[in-house]
């Protein structure tokens, strides 16, 4: 059977590219302030739109790349949460939602994404590099959910906003490190297959 194209690691790298751009935009917003950032409509919609688009793009990943029920359910729930959080942020930019408590939608997306990573990665940490990175991604997202929660409680906190933005940069770095079959710290299970470049 011909494997699905592009290979899974390429999908991780393409997602990393979107996530990195998202992180840079959020960092820029922290430094210039939301007032300046939202002076142009396209800029105001950029990061919520990107977040929503990443959620939409998770559906083809669920359809074509999942190879077990738990894998498929995790990606499906993940896609829904990302779209929900993106939609909430779009509505906030549009002025339809006002309460800062809506930041909790992004916290739910972080937590849901983290749990999805942890649940669908059924191999141990040192099985191979992708297993290790899925565990790291999962726990990073679970820990980083504190930032959107802090933004809900203290919307003007620059620490919360900076932490939130840097989370995306860190996620991008981890996603770029992902490989299908490669050793991690010199370990690779003989069950993982032959490592390639």
């Amino acid at each position: 059977m011909t494997p699905v194209q592009p290979p899974a690691e390429h999908v991780h790298w393409l997602f990393a590219t979107g996530v990195l751009l998202l992180g840079l935009c959020l960092l820029a917003e922290v430094f210039v302030g939301s007032e300046v950032w939202t002076r142009r409509a396209w800029r105001a919609y950029l990061w919520p739109g990107l977040a929503f688009a990443l959620g939409v793009l998770m559906w083809p990943v669920m359809t074509f790349y999942t190879n077990s029920t738990i894998h498929m359910l995790a990606h499906g729930a993940w896609a829904e949460l990302m779209m929900f959080a993106g939609a909430v942020e779009l509505a906030r930019v549009r002025g339809k939602l006002h309460s800062s408590a809506w930041s909790l939608a992004m916290a739910a997306a972080f937590l849901g994404s983290g749990v999805a990573f942890l649940v669908h990665e059924q191999n141990a940490w040192l099985f191979m590099r992708s297993a290790f990175l899925h565990h790291v991604l999962g726990w990073t997202l679970v820990a980083a959910s504190v930032f959107p929660i802090a933004r809900a409680v203290r919307p003007r906190s620059s620490v919360a906003a900076t932490g939130f933005a840097l989370t995306f940069v860190v996620l991008a770095v981890i996603l770029y490190c992902d490989r299908d079959v490669a050793p991690v710290f010199g370990h690779i299970s003989p069950l993982a297959g032959a490592p390639h470049r």
């Binding site: 790298w13 393409l14 990393a16 820029a28 142009r40």
Partner: protein, 92 residues
């Protein structure tokens, strides 16, 4: 009178530091991608394209990082700096 002059001088300097950071963000990202390409040249499939398929030639992580840095610098930063200047002018 002296205190007034000091406050007038400090505010723009503070804002300039922000503008410098924003301006540096894209090139620093691109630089990180370039350093990555030098440290791990095997991640650049274009350097040894023989026998590689479309996706291996199209998706090259260090080049993607450089592309994101350049996109941010050329597409997002100019308008942002302009708006920072406008905001400063209107707040005076």
């Amino acid at each position: 009178m002296n205190a007034e002059l000091v406050s007038e001088l400090e505010l723009p300097r503070h804002r300039t530091a922000r503008a410098r950071f924003i301006t540096a963000l894209g090139p620093l990202t691109a630089l990180a991608g370039a350093i990555w390409a030098i440290v791990q040249p095997y991640r650049i499939t274009l350097l040894h394209p023989h026998g590689q398929g479309f996706w291996w030639l199209f998706v090259e992580p260090p080049l993607l990082v450089i592309a994101v840095g350049l996109f941010f610098y050329f597409a997002i930063v100019p308008g942002l700096l302009e708006d920072m200047g406008d905001a400063r002018a209107t707040s005076r």
